[in-house]
């Protein structure tokens, strides 16, 4: 890494600060798991020792960061590097805890499960989930919960880290096309987002408890619903409860987690809610249309009902990954429909993955404008959504995002196929990882785990999950800067 691009002093300080904060946040989660392990009498030592390790590492990083030169502007790549490394570090910590608890023996598998957790993908290699210690189940949920709102958001909200440098990391993690500050100070913005998230999560716990889930199940599913993560405490995911009220609560909170957090803030503060409200409406419209189409096809084929279609489509569109039926066994239209819905995603600046509604809408509008251009070449065309006019920079960014996203999708599918799995499995695995969904089709379908994927495929999925969670550009720009030709 050239010193020209990543200035050693302040740049390294930012990276150390972010990673140190990440370890600190993990420490809290691990400590909670150790306490729960102590209650059940299983796996508490593993979590306690891991927590100790992260505590030491956290202190070390923060101390080094404090010693580094501060107050200077950071380079353009420092934020990207800090965020990417923070997510890798978090996943590594998560993996170590799972290894220590004896859940996995292979470090790669443990890393896969933890990455799937933090990125809120929800893909699992565990086939005997219910046999796992409570501490492990809780840790899987906590990983998703922390990753859902964003590790840097959590770090900034709970740790005393401030300064202009932190903004870079903050923006590099935020999803969406424009970065919006809710308050003059970035720390307050992070606190507001975290507060909204916390309120939603607590509401989900109460709601799940009211519809009959036990305390432990309610807490775990609340965390993984709001985070649109998809890990469950049951082998059969949501199908284990076979309860319509539970599924309705899950649908509600998956949608709630898929809504732009800036929308909540603006609505509560009675500020103008455009264009966020327009995105929410488009999101709901897409969801309803998708549910209607899938319901029609499965009802006609006599395979399933509105209830299964609504739950599984919502789970996929919000990039959660819960399952209540084996939709891989449904008709071919529904199967391909699911594969298409993998890419959609929910609103920007939510906990969901995928392309995001705002980008999909702008892409469609941009495409239409390009089609109209030959008819009136001199017309000045403005990309608009929800009464908001977007600049040409946004048009370029959206088109650029889609281009890079599509390339990664294609190359990822090809590489996945090179491991020897069938085409449906290969394409759905790449897409599911890139769009942080969870289950796929074929050999990694809703009724099974990702064990069918060989080691290389699992490694590739890890890379795709982190790339997808950080919305492609953060990771790709970093890689181009490190390995590409210097401009």
């Amino acid at each position: 890494m050239s010193a020209r691009w990543l200035r050693v002093g302040p740049d390294a300080a930012l990276v150390l600060l972010t990673i140190g904060g990440t370890f600190a946040a993990c420490t809290i989660g691990l400590a909670v798991c150790a306490a729960v392990g102590e209650l059940e009498g299983r796996a508490s030592d593993a979590f306690a020792f891991t927590a100790l390790g992260t505590l030491v590492l956290s202190a070390l990083c923060l101390q080094l960061a404090r010693a580094a030169r501060r107050g200077l502007a950071v380079g353009p790549l420092a934020g990207l590097a800090a965020v990417t490394l923070a997510w890798i570090a978090a996943s590594a910590v998560g993996g170590v805890a799972l290894l220590a608890a004896g859940t996995f023996t292979s470090p790669l598998d443990a890393f896969f499960e933890a990455t799937s957790g933090f990125t809120t993908t929800g893909a699992t290699l565990l086939s005997e989930i219910e046999a796992q210690p409570d501490a492990v189940l809780l840790w899987r949920s906590i990983m998703q919960w922390l990753g859902g709102v964003g590790i840097v958001v959590v770090v900034v909200a709970i740790a005393p880290v401030t300064g202009p440098a932190v903004q870079r990391a903050f923006y590099a993690e935020t999803t969406g096309i424009t970065t919006e500050r809710l308050t003059p100070r970035i720390v307050d913005t992070a606190k507001i987002i975290a507060a909204i998230y916390l309120v939603l999560s607590l509401a989900a716990v109460v709601a799940y408890a009211l519809v009959g889930l036990g305390g432990f199940d309610a807490v775990n599913h609340a965390m993984t619903s709001v985070a649109t993560g998809g890990f469950s405490t049951r082998d059969d995911s949501m199908a284990a409860f076979d309860s319509l009220p539970v599924e309705l609560v899950a649908i509600f909170f998956m949608i709630a987690g898929g809504i732009n957090f800036a929308f909540y803030w603006r609505a509560v503060r009675r500020k103008p809610v455009m264009p966020q409200a327009a995105e929410v409406l488009a999101f709901l419209a897409i969801l309803v249309a998708a549910i209607a189409a899938v319901t029609l096809s499965v009802e006609l084929a006599g395979e399933a009902t509105l209830r299964e279609a609504a739950f599984n489509v919502t789970s996929i569109v919000t990039s959660t990954g819960y399952t209540s039926a084996d939709y891989d066994g449904w008709n071919q239209f529904a199967r391909v429909g699911f594969l298409v819905l993998f890419t959609s995603g929910a609103c920007a600046a939510s906990t969901a993955g995928g392309i995001k509604v705002i980008r999909s809408v702008l892409l469609a509008k941009a495409a239409r404008q390009e089609l109209e251009r030959p008819l009136q070449p001199r017309a000045v065309r403005v990309l608009r959504f929800g009464r908001h006019a977007y600049s040409e920079d946004v048009r370029r960014a959206v088109l650029g995002f889609f281009l890079v996203y599509a390339m990664i999708y294609v190359v990822g599918s090809l590489a996945m196929a090179a491991t020897g799995v069938d085409p449906v499995t290969a394409i759905s695995a790449a897409s599911s990882a890139l769009n942080i969904i969870g289950p796929g089709l074929g050999e990694i379908g809703p009724e099974t785990t990702w064990e069918a994927l060989p080691g290389f495929g699992r490694g590739l999925a890890i890379a795709l999950m982190i790339t997808g969670r950080l919305e492609v550009f953060t990771v790709v720009v970093l890689l181009v800067a490190i390995f590409g030709r210097r401009p």
């Binding site: 009136q376 001199r378 000045v380 065309r381 403005v382 608009r384 006019a389």
Partner: protein, 450 residues
């Protein structure tokens, strides 16, 4: 009335000249000494060299005892300062010309209530709204509304397709209620006589109930149809405002702007307007904008020559209604020769708006029409001389003016045989300039009977 006009440009001169001709004392303050010398010979007014915002100058012209101060320089801030200072010194009525909409936003209540300026005139907005009125009523050059919008008084130009050609007005067909009050031929305004035969190019002043305005004007002017597509050339302040007014209707609006950044700004501001980044004058550019299919073409760029050229080209391409902004007085005589349907001068519109405002403040609510006629709205009181008279009888009583329409309850009625004026009617009197000053006593309660 003692009047001070700040700024001796075209607006100032027009205001000063008219007020001076009406017999008011006018003082003009002008900052440019060369312009001062020219003004001295042009208008019957006291010309003082200096800045209108200067306390020294305001004292010199005795602003404290003035009835009216109109600040109409081209500088918004100077106008505001002059108007504010004058108000503090004790001037009765203040008027300011302010172009930048950021000062007041959409309504002028801030100017009136907070700053104490009685009338703020934005030339661009006034011009844009005049053009929009003309477009919304094709065939009419100008249109103004009375009686809470129930009655339209329109000025129309007789075209070759008009059914009025070669027919005495008394004999004309009357498919729509409309009353032709006045005629302007070769710049001479007169009241209509029944035996008049309209010619091509005559301007007619017509009173029409608003509900029938579109159909009646289309019939009288001949061959006009509703404007469905409009091309605007030039996206300056006037172009932007005009497009904004028109995009609220169902009209298809195309706006031509040659400067890229401005075009982008316009496109952002006007979601329902097609903004083209093009020079707009040449035949190629206008064809690309489908000017040939447009019902109306409005040239409102900053340059008169470009406007005239663009409008001429558009006319040749086949745009039905071609209008142009012509800012400089020198070009105005050319318009009739150039086959352009209507021209608008922001400065004249500003001057007229100010004069009309001054009239309503001082001269018993007489309203000047742009066509050169005057209008006054009077209520017929119980026992007044006019009450009970038929329309024919009123013509004998009142010289130089006519009953244009009667507003009774919710109805707007056009003069016709058998219609009598009843107590409580609101009567719209129309006349040539200066003829309405003696009309008021006919509507007031007769003193002899009391």
């Amino acid at each position: 009335m003692k009047t001070i006009v700040i700024g001796g440009g075209e607006v100032g001169v027009n205001v000063a000249r008219t007020l001076s001709a009406d017999g008011h004392d006018v003082t003009v303050v002008e900052i440019d000494p060369v312009r001062c010398a020219t003004l001295q010979g042009e208008i019957d007014a006291l010309v003082i060299e200096g800045s209108g915002g200067s306390p020294r100058v305001l004292e010199q012209v005795d602003a404290g005892s003035a009835d009216l101060l109109a600040a109409v320089t081209r500088n918004d801030e100077a106008n505001l300062i002059a108007a504010l200072s004058a108000r503090q010194l004790g001037t009765q009525i203040t008027v300011a010309r302010v172009r930048d909409p950021d000062f007041f936003g959409p309504d002028e209540s801030f100017a009136r209530d907070v700053l104490g300026i009685d009338f703020v005139i934005d030339p661009d907005r006034a011009t844009a709204s005049d053009i929009a009125d003309a477009i919304s009523l094709p065939g009419a050059v100008t249109v103004e509304y009375f009686g809470d919008g129930r009655l339209a008084v329109a000025e129309i130009i007789v075209t070759e397709a008009s059914p009025l050609l070669g027919v005495e007005l008394a004999e004309r067909e009357r498919p729509h209620p409309a009353y032709i009050v006045g005629l302007a031929r070769d710049g001479e305004e007169s009241l209509i006589r029944p035996e008049v035969v309209p010619q091509v190019g005559d301007h007619l002043l017509v009173a029409i109930p608003t509900d029938h305005a579109r159909a009646a004007v289309a019939h009288l002017a001949g061959g006009t149809r509703e404007v469905r597509g409009c091309v605007i050339f030039g996206g300056g302040k006037i172009g932007l405002r005009l497009a904004r007014i028109l995009q609220a209707t169902r009209m298809k609006v195309t706006l031509l702007e040659r400067e890229a950044t401005r075009a982008r700004y316009l496109a952002e501001q006007l979601p329902r307007v097609t903004v083209l980044h093009d020079e707009g004058v040449s035949r190629e550019a206008q064809e690309a904008a489908h000017v040939d299919e447009a019902d109306a073409f409005v040239a409102c760029a900053g340059d008169d020559r470009a406007n005239l050229l663009a409008a001429l080209n558009a006319k040749r391409l086949g745009a039905d209604l071609c209008m142009s902004i012509v800012s400089r007085e020198e070009f105005t005589p050319l318009i009739d020769a150039l086959a352009i349907d209507a021209s608008f001068s922001p400065r004249l519109i500003t001057a007229e708006a100010i004069l009309r405002f001054v009239h309503t403040q001082s001269v018993r609510a007489i309203h000047l029409l742009r066509s050169g006629f005057e209008v006054i709205e009077l209520e017929a009181e119980e026992g007044a001389q006019i009450v009970g008279k038929g329309i024919g009888e009123t013509q004998g009583m009142l010289s130089g003016c006519r009953v244009g329409a009667i507003l009774r309850g919710d109805d707007a009625m056009i003069p016709q045989k058998g219609l009598e004026i009843r107590p409580g009617d609101r009567v719209l009197m129309l006349g040539v300039e200066g003829a309405l000053s003696g009309v008021e006593p006919f509507f007031a309660r007769s003193r002899r009977r009391e």
